[in-house]
Symmetry: C2
Subunit: 96 residues, 2 copies
């Protein structure tokens, strides 16, 4: 199992229509064939400046790679992520 | 539900006895009364420099607060975390 997470901050005003539209657009990632346990999360620790997180799990690296190159993922990155995300960090976990 | 996560890098050499001892010590946190779904994880993304993660869930803020002030947690922070962790970031999530 590989858990892929990304924590991020949007350029949009909190609570704005644009923010909701971005999150709604991201839900399409949940339906990609190798994605499991997709979650959209709100980041609430005051110890960092990120606002949201996406988390998903893959069976193995091949499943992760298939997600990365899936046209729906690539389109989301190109058309939404690159222009609407102010800052982000990717963290990937495997069981210890 | 609040998911508390911390991603970190140790001062110890990878694979060292000291690294294993630190992780073993951290397992005591899993048994604290309000901690659920405790996980020790290896961070594998090359896009950040952290090595490990702990993840746990709490029913609510009161359960999280009880963990924070529990003597076993405070002892672990004071006797292990503060001297053996080189860098870390806390990320807390709630469902969106």
């Amino acid at each position: 199992m590989i858990r892929h997470t990304v924590v991020f901050r949007l350029k949009h005003a909190p609570g704005s229509v644009e923010e909701q539209s971005f999150l709604q657009g991201g839900r399409a990632l949940a339906d990609l064939p190798t994605v499991q346990r997709f979650e959209q999360l709100r980041q609430v620790s005051p110890k960092n400046s990120f606002q949201f997180g996406f988390s998903m799990e893959f069976d193995d690296q091949a499943a992760y790679d298939a997600y990365n190159v899936h046209p729906v993922h690539e389109q989301f990155v190109r058309e939404r992520w690159q222009s609407e995300v102010e800052d982000f960090m990717e963290i990937d976990y495997i069981p210890l």
